[in-house]
Amino acid sequence: MMKRRMTNRRLTGMHHTCTKQYASIGQQLVIGMLCSTLLACSADSPDQNTAALNQPYPAQTGGTLISAMPSDPSGMIGMVAGESASLAIGAYLFNSLLTFNQDLDLAGELAESWQVADDKKTITFKLKPGLQWADGKPLTSADVLFTWQLIIDEKTHSPYASDYQLVTKAEAPDAQTFIVHYAQPFAPALESWAHLQVLPKHKLAGQDIHTTSFAQKPLGSHYYQLKEWRHGEYLKLERNPKSVLGPANIDNVVERIIPDPAAQFLELMADNIDSMTLDPITYARIIPSRPALQAKLNQYKELGNSYTYLGFNLKRKPFDDVRVRKAINYAIDKQEIIDGVYLGLGIAIASPYKPGTRWSNPNLTPYPFDPTKAKQLLAEAGYVDSNGDGIVERDGKKLSFEVLTNLGNKQREKTTVIIQRRLKEVGIETRIRTLEWASLLTNFIKPGDFDAVVMGWGLSLDPDQYSIWHSSQQGPGQFNFIGYNNPAVDKLLEQGRMEFDPETRMQIYHDFAKVLYEDSPLVYLSAGYGLTAIHKRVQGIMNPVPPAGVGYDSHKWYLPEPLRRTQIQAE
């Protein structure tokens, strides 16, 4: 039920980190507070029940799991809502044709099988037999077709329509078959069908997708159904006995909306919620220092599908010179950033893919920290400190530039300061400027008016990164805003989009990552871990965490009866 939450996080991950920052004051404060005098308080004495918590119980059904999320979903139709909370709740309710298994390979969800035609332009999905919606009506290929028509509709306000608009024709010849035709082979199509949450035609036909009350009272086919929604406060989900993937173990899932992470943590301490996502300080410092918390919580970490980078405006001097870019790459100590900013809860990367997955090139190692080499490369590029002011220059011009990052993202701000110091050591002067997200995007990124930026990319599970790196994607508002232009990369990206065979694709993206590595158009700074704390009363959690994340098989989680909350049971 939570399995797609990780992938959903990437959808709006970037803006997500930008709008929720006001909470950080409180967060830091509660940390200071907890670490100081109050630490000695009586709440720390371990509970007698902790022994029971560590005892394994057999899998069983029932119980209520309560977790917290930072913002209220705006509606249940993810394609229109376009924000992570809606997609996360939608992932409890709706199925897609395909999904990703625990190793992040494609697998069928509603589809029993799928077949790519020899010309690679047609994909035929065969639906599983006997699928039904929670109200008992059959779920057929007509629903899938309807959902596709909905997202490509001219009138639908969806930021995610582009992948589906490439479908030239879609058909549902019988109730079990859904066929899509593309004008040319498009390998990321399969991933796109793993993201499209299939909606019931019999409920939505003839409705205005934007104003329909279906967004408030949805009907799905997945493990859970929406039972009660108190806007801005909580959502109650109850198990769907007709779930197309078989029923989940836990009866009720409650998502409480608590915007402030400090308040979330207090609720976790008071045992009012069972799970929350943590920041590195809570994960690495606060919980380990409190035996009472440690006794009742399990902590999990999983590598997310996103990374932070220092990107250069390649259309500007001196960044058009690969030696300067490499020098900067060598001058930055990535481990220092990971240790200092993420308290060690991250890793350095060498390619724009999640390490350990098929797409990540295992032969590349992150640029090491080597200031001597950096200085040498700068000298080769003609930058030397001739006037002894500590800043290198060429033709009398200092090597000095401005680094932009978005306001309120503390991790990026700290990262930028660390970079500034290291670059100064090799004679590069940087000025830091933090800007509110919308203003950074509209006034600087979109017109291309910047030297360098510290930002992040949240990536999809499909390796295609055409929109980020292809030279055709440099227009205002497009994602290759750094102006990367390499015909070799263009060609690889085009090939990768046409190739369905995973092995051949893997080779293409390994080559692509290698070229990027040599070009160093941006400095990969770190890929942080996603951190979660879950109460020990929740059992059956896969350990170690699979690549797909801790929530991957949450439908198999269970709450042993002796460990359940008494108050909720009485309800």
Binding site: I25, T211, S213, E228, G232, W437
Partner: protein, 341 residues
């Protein structure tokens, strides 16, 4: 009287239009729009989709045209639909053809904020007036000093810090109060009495903390007013007549000292609908403050304009009510305002 009222109310219309025009332009001065906040940096979204959204929302038109479109809708009291929140209606609930209702965003948030602020204002006043009177009566002696000190501390403590501290102390260590939220999860199953109790318990911390930190201003206001009045001739006369201390203080002095408070309360009327972002965020209460903050961050123009319009209308109403209440309470002013009577 009636003429005066009608004149004031008619004048509010051009005022409101002026305010909304200025607000609209200032709002558009901030860089970006919904397409630069919603899914803007997701590699899966495309510039074409964003351009389409801009056209659908008329964001590609000049600001004055957009204002015209907005004004046209407002004439019909149509506050429009949110850009960022799934096209939810901004103010009024809407019913689709199947009879299902989608509640309006302001409609949902406003009662919560109003409840909190009215209870909070009531609490502040019931505490501040006696405290102010005591401080004035015992001016310079220990009760006055301790009240001043208490106010000083309350005024200086950052509200969010006190909130977190009390949430920890009264919610985690001694679980007497709920930590966050507005309703218990089993609220729907409770009977009416338990529902009230539940709501009060949830409201306790979020209402009491701002009341304490906001006490200082009004207490000082009352105290200074009382000090002024107590030294006036009519108080001396009242005492000379042999009236009891209690009558002098509460019937003669306090009634006069409270006059300026009417203005203060009148001016705080628009504040009643503006929630506090920080308090609402910390206590996870879906009120107006957070609604407005999120709308600004997301550049959700219809919601921003909806809240600003209601806010300015209430400010104007508050001014009017304060003036009327003043006239009602103070005979001198009543004659000045309405010479024809």
């Amino acid at each position: 009287m009636l003429n005066y009222l009608i004149r004031r109310i008619v004048w509010m219309i051009p005022m409101l239009i002026g305010i909304s025009l200025i607000s609209f332009f200032i709002m558009h001065l901030a860089p970006g729009d919904i397409t630069s906040t919603e899914a803007a940096f997701d590699p899966k979204s495309s510039e074409e989709s964003r351009q389409k959204l801009r056209e659908l929302y008329h964001l590609d038109k000049p600001v004055i045209v957009q204002y015209g479109l907005w004004l046209e809708r407002m004439v019909h009291l149509d506050f429009g639909h949110s850009f960022a929140s799934h096209q939810k209606p901004v103010f009024w609930a809407e019913t689709d053809k199947d009879g299902n209702t989608t509640p309006g965003m302001i409609q949902e948030a406003l009662p919560i904020t109003l409840l909190m602020n009215v209870v909070g204002l009531f609490l502040t006043l019931t505490l501040a007036v006696p405290l102010g009177v005591i401080a004035a009566k015992k001016y310079g002696r220990w009760p006055d000093r301790s009240i001043t000190l208490f106010n000083f501390i309350g005024f200086s403590i950052p509200g969010f810090w006190l909130s977190l501290l009390l949430m920890y102390w009264l919610g985690v260590i001694h679980p007497w109060f709920p930590i966050s939220g507005l309703h218990s999860l089993n609220y729907a199953q409770l009977d009416t009495w338990q529902k009230c109790q539940d709501l009060l318990m949830h409201l306790f911390l979020p209402v009491v903390i701002p009341a304490i930190t906001g006490l200082a201003g009004i207490t000082m206001f009352v105290k200074n007013g009382m000090l002024d009045v107590l030294s006036q001739d009519f108080v001396t006369t009242a005492r000379a007549k042999g009236l009891s201390d209690c009558t002098v203080t509460y019937r003669h002095a306090l009634r006069n000292a409270l006059l300026p408070l009417i203005t203060l309360v009148g001016l705080s009327l628009p504040g009643l609908i503006g929630g506090s972002v920080i308090a609402e965020t910390i206590f996870a209460i879906p009120g107006m403050g957070k609604l407005f903050y999120d709308a600004v961050m997301m550049r959700d123009f219809p919601v921003i304009m909806g809240i600003l319009t209601i806010g300015s209308a209430l400010t104007l109403m508050g001014n009017l009510l304060a003036d009327l209440a003043y006239a009602w309470a103070d005979p001198r002013l009543r004659r000045g305002v309405m010479p024809q009577r």
